[in-house]
Symmetry: C2
Subunit: 397 residues, 2 copies
């Protein structure tokens, strides 16, 4: 396979960096040249940057690549140290030697999504037409657009068929879109804690977050970067609201209950008397340091728009004739993407005569479970990937 | 019983107005004179106004009074037309001739809670010490303070024993506090869709709402009234966030699903493409017309602080030796006050050897069910009240 319409601008073009403890700046590639990429909205996106990170080594047959799709506020730094936060990557517990996504065996690719704010083109980047940040002039994008951009990256890397595409939450939506849109370009698919459509309740929570951002006068009609300010308070409220949906009531109760924060008694005031308040405020404050408010608007909107049945007529129709092997995972206490959403997806896949396994992991950790090192969960991932690898004829190293 | 320390300033001091279709300005009474009321915070509240509304007639024995306790954003206009909104009162479907709270049989009292904004003293009222609105100088109040104020009203009305205290959500917390604090002053208690403590998740949602209000620059550190402005956008976001918790995912899906608002296709923009977005925005916008932002802060804080086990050692201890007849009601799809909270309450009441019946109503309408005309729910209310009335020796009229 040739490497068309792209130009790698990473410091090293070598494929196969191993995850290290040192901060990594990652790779960047310019895609959509000379032919632009057509967006679902009908607009063209030409010469755009996509940032990505790799872990492990691509084998000679180029058959051991796993594409990891990140969720709403994730990024390409899935493993190792995050160069901005200094913390471990969001899926470091699952990616590495001997871990479920074993870097001794697989070549892991994770790219920042279209519309993101960690290197891939998004609303905070400069609009070549004006020389100023795109802001709301950035085109509204979809999960399909994110996937099309990733597909150009996979072309660029010279990979005919990914061994697996995997991801949780919005990452799982990308997995499903990949399997539907490019069924010959992946061997296996692992959609985790996700759904074939965004629910009314999730749209509602997204809308609260967007309204919180847009209500902040520092948002400036989206034009805050050009005006050298930031809607930090609105974005923090959006994050606080969303964060509640990531945890189960049981987990919140176990973690915090009604415990007080550094005090013996309630203060009869509006300070953070309770640990759960202090925790949420901290989540809001730290989030604004690493995330762009307009990106938050665009990405939540892309999730809202995701609906496979509406796009294809039915979920079954979206996967008609697929040869992809699916492993669908849900978590019993996830109320944002409940198990019944995964079950509906599995019904659709069954109706398409797909090869599907479906596991509901019992845990009280809520939606965030997909990020956690839950033994049953990691065992299931390892088992499925090992089985699929054997079918694919992959051997370690 | 004498009518101590109070002075009725309503246009008519007659007890026993019947609900009519015409707008009612309601009654107001000044309580806490000459002796002030002691608040849980330790502060005194003297000469404060409490606004209330009544429906039906108090019988000669003064034994047929039902106190209705309203929820976070409710008020005293439970039945008939609301003088501000022009809509029917929040519990009009349950209060009236032939309805569960039958005004041919019972004398219904509903007062605006302490800290509210519909006539009872709250943060928007004038601080006599400064001649300006209290704003954040208003003392932080508790559910117990609300109940103590209601008890002064009941004293004022010359009622020795209420036939029943009833209410849903935060109203249910007042019911529980009444039964614990003044067990001889009520014959029956109906706590609906409530809990003996505010959960960590509910504190978290309250904190999001408070932060949304306080993030609005028009909040002005709470001093917006003196500065002739209002934090409308922040309060609207708070309402939108809270409103999601009042509905079940199933109800949101049935009402709206992914239906579009007055359009055939998505617009690739941030307008309200989806009906659920339009609905939420409407909820936010209309709320700010009738509610005070600082009241929202104070009332959510009072709910946060509610925890009977912490106050009394255990729920059972709170009701030790009670003769009150309880009917505990929950709704199967309520995820804000789930059935397991009611079950925990019932366990505590059982341990106190209380007379308790417990019914979980099957419905997919979520927390808002307590406001709805659900046949099983209303039949249960009617049945319990009829039975208790027979024991109390009440007959119609």
């Amino acid at each position: 396979m040739s490497i068309p319409h792209s130009q790698d601008s990473s410091e090293t073009a070598e494929i196969g960096d191993t995850a290290t403890e040192a901060p990594q700046t990652g790779h960047k590639v310019v895609l959509g040249v000379p032919a632009p990429m057509k967006l679902d909205s009908g607009l063209d996106l030409a010469g755009f940057t996509l940032a990505y990170q790799t872990y492990g080594k691509l084998n000679a047959a180029r058959s051991n690549a796993i594409l990891v799709c990140h969720a709403l506020t994730g990024d390409q730094f899935a493993a190792g140290r995050h160069p901005v936060t200094g913390k471990r990557g969001w899926w470091d517990n699952a990616i590495g030697p001997g871990k479920p996504l074993d870097t001794d065996k697989y070549f892991i690719i994770c790219s920042n999504i279209l519309g993101g704010c960690m290197g891939t083109i998004g609303p905070k980047d400069t609009n070549p037409a004006t020389g100023k940040p795109y802001s709301l002039a950035f085109p509204v994008i979809t999960i399909g657009d994110m996937v099309n951009a990733q597909k150009l990256l996979i072309d660029h890397l010279g990979i005919d068929q990914l061994f697996c595409v995997i991801g949780g939450s919005m990452g799982g939506m990308q997995v499903l879109d990949w399997a539907s849109r490019y069924p010959d370009r992946l061997f296996a698919a692992v959609p985790i804690a996700t759904a074939a459509r965004c629910s009314a309740q999730n749209i509602a929570f997204h809308e609260v977050g967007r309204q919180a951002i847009m209500a902040d006068p520092e948002w400036r009609g989206g034009d805050y970067l050009a005006q050298n300010t930031r809607p930090e308070r609105g974005l923090a409220v959006a994050r606080m609201s969303a964060h509640i949906t990531y945890l189960s009531e049981t987990a919140l109760h176990r973690k915090f209950g009604r415990a007080l924060q550094d005090r013996k008694a309630i203060t009869y005031g509006f300070d953070a008397d309770f640990q759960v308040e202090s925790y949420l405020r901290h989540q809001g404050i730290t989030f604004v340091d690493r995330f762009d408010a307009n990106s938050y608007l665009y990405i939540t909107r892309a999730i809202d728009y995701f609906d496979m049945a509406s796009e294809h007529g039915s979920v079954a129709e979206a996967f008609k004739g697929t040869k992809v092997r699916f492993c669908v995972l849900s978590f019993s206490s996830d109320w944002m993407f409940p198990t019944y959403e995964s079950r509906a997806l599995v019904h659709g896949l069954n109706a398409a005569a797909a090869n599907v396994s479906f596991v509901e992991i019992q845990t009280d950790q809520g939606h965030d479970s997909f990020l956690l090192d839950i033994p049953d969960y990691h065992r299931t991932l390892t088992g499925f990937l090992n089985g699929a690898a054997a079918h694919r004829g992959l051997t370690a190293k």
